[in-house]
Amino acid sequence: MVPPVAVTPDPLDLPALTAEISGRRSGDGAVTSFVGLVREQNQGRRVSFLEYEAYEPLAVRALNRILDEARESWPDVRLGVHHRTGRVELGEASIIIVAASPHRAHAFAACRYTLERVKQIVPIWKHEHFEGGDVWLEGATADPDDEAARQTAHRIACA
């Protein structure tokens, strides 16, 4: 049994999540998935590997909140999202998202919305190890009640 939401040190399994979210439902017209990978170059640095740290209970809660938000906008979409923690090597997946829907536009949008919201409000941090040093990456100040941020994610999702 694959849960729709997971924060895990184990390698991410896209086929298993896809099967769980979309498996053989005749009403589906589309399944979209997103896989975020650890990239070798970042801001001119040659990355060696990333270490992800999470505040796990709140991260799981925030991911579930994002799925609830997405269901409000696209009620016919079913979603799953798994995020990796710990050391992740170059080329490995740090996040996978699967969205299934009768309609492709909804599946694409819900998938993108979920990713943008993860970057806004899920308490997970990248510790980048690169040639010559290491640095904590800091993106957004997490505020799930920031309606402007949510609207930005929605706009990007529907662009």
């Binding site: 740290e53 709140l58 996040i95 308490p123």
Partner: protein, 81 residues
């Protein structure tokens, strides 16, 4: 009262620990717990404008009350994905 303080990412590095137990005078708020922490470790203070806070693993605000036994977390800007 006694609270557990959780720190993550660079805040954890600056404090040298991700989990601290602290005695705080009541009535306490997230802000008063933070103030005590910064008095002890001034380097943390720079995060006050950009961090988020949580009480018992739920997002909260600096003005929220804190009770004996609560877990109070201070979170630098997030960078998942």
């Amino acid at each position: 009262m006694r609270v557990t303080v959780r720190l993550f990412a660079r805040l954890r590095d600056l404090a040298g620990s991700g989990e601290l137990v602290r005695e705080v005078p009541g009535p306490a708020t997230v802000a008063s717990v933070w103030k005590g922490l910064v008095a002890e470790m001034p380097a943390l203070g720079a995060y006050e404008r950009t961090m988020s806070v949580a009480v018992n693993a739920d997002y909260s605000r600096m003005t929220a009350p804190v009770s004996d036994g609560d877990e109070v977390a201070f979170l630098p800007p997030v960078s998942g994905g």
